[in-house]
Amino acid sequence: MSAQTASLNPAPKSEEILIRRIQDGESELFYDLIKPYQQRVYATAFAIMRNESDAEDVAQEAFLKAFKHLAQFRSEARFSTWLTQITVNEARMRKRRGRSSVEDPMTEHEDEEGNYTPRDFADWREIPSETLERKEVREKLAEALAKLGEKYREVFVLRDMQQLSIEQTAKALGISAAAVKTRLLRARLMLRDLLSPGLGGGWSSRLLFAKGNKPW
């Protein structure tokens, strides 16, 4: 987690200097500037595109666009937010062009203004982070995320996975902070419902048992 935090928040001072040098013509430094953001940009692209090859294309394209428009970047904005914004735009554009055939199952019966009622009340014990060492669990989490409607996925990925603030998420997506909060709540509750059969029971108790703790 600390590595993640560090990678998401590179020393702003050195980043500012890098950006200025690239703007002044040292374009070969661009890779150094964007290296810490590879995972963030890819994950954002993946959250919208929902498949690896499109996500990679979008990520590469977003980096190239960022380079092309770096002269327009103003230091009062955060570079990470700016980059995320470019990625979201690129992914949305690509999606519109290709009109994905995969429907968003959980966009049905959605009423953003209405309340979301949880469907599953299975009690979850605390899930230890070691659970994520199992590929099967990571895949289940990715699958559940892919089932969310696009507007919920976008908000959830930026806020809960990329750790952007509510305001940064709102800015990157071009929506209000209130809309971010509403969508975020729904995304979290929907994911919980989607994951309950596994995480509410099976996986975590199997893991606890495997670690030598009696699950009873």
Binding site: Q4, F121, I166
Partner: protein, 204 residues
């Protein structure tokens, strides 16, 4: 303040974000303490937030970094005319000039390092009549006993002989050659030995 289950669900996100006013916060906690369903929803949602914060959920595909670098290199040309660029060009030019200078400087260029008989006969009088023969690359004073193949010897001037690639005989023309004492093989390094080798073998 008493809150319903619906109100708790509506506030779960704000509660987890710490973005909730104290009165409501206390009411939610009180509700959760007695409501099993809301405890389950709260705990599950908290787990969702914690688990998805791990960046391993969406991992970069293998080779992503390389492919990105290649793509960037295709589109981003290194800057021209920057200070660094000029410094690199200047350093490269200096290296070339420097190498030439070093190659021309001692010990590689000093004639003293060559064997006396391999010296061009620059001190031999140009018009002096000398003798050469076909199976040797040396030129001699007439009558030198070291002339090979005397049956095919011919006369010419020292200048002509040198022009044709002949070098002075180290015996009969010794007085025109640099004194052997001038020859200073200052512990030749490997490079010098390599350079000397063909000359020495030509002697035998």
């Amino acid at each position: 303040m008493v809150v319903s289950c619906e109100e708790v669900w509506r506030e779960i996100s704000n509660y987890l974000e710490g973005d909730i006013e104290p009165g409501l916060h206390a009411a939610v906690e009180e509700h959760i303490r007695i409501c099993k369903h809301c405890t389950a929803v709260m705990a599950g949602t908290k787990n969702v937030v914690t688990l998805y914060a791990d960046e391993r959920i969406i991992e970069l595909p293998a080779g992503f970094d390389n492919r990105l670098r290649n793509r960037l290199e295709e589109h981003i040309r290194p800057s021209r005319g920057t200070y660094l660029g000029w410094m690199i060009a200047a350093a490269a030019a200096l290296l070339v000039v420097g190498s030439i200078e070093v190659a021309n400087s001692a010990p590689y260029a000093t004639q003293e390092l060559r064997l006396p008989h391999a010296q061009p006969g620059k001190n031999v009088p140009a018009q002096m009549v000398v003798v050469v023969s076909d199976d040797s690359k040396l030129f001699h004073t007439p009558g030198c006993r070291f002339i090979h193949d005397k049956a095919h010897e011919r006369n010419l001037t020292a200048s002509e002989a040198m022009h044709q690639g002949f070098t002075p005989c180290p015996r009969c023309l010794k007085k025109y050659l640099p004194d052997v004492a001038v020859f200073r093989p200052v512990t030749p390094d490997v490079g010098e030995l390599v350079r000397l080798a063909p000359v020495q073998s030509a002697m035998h």
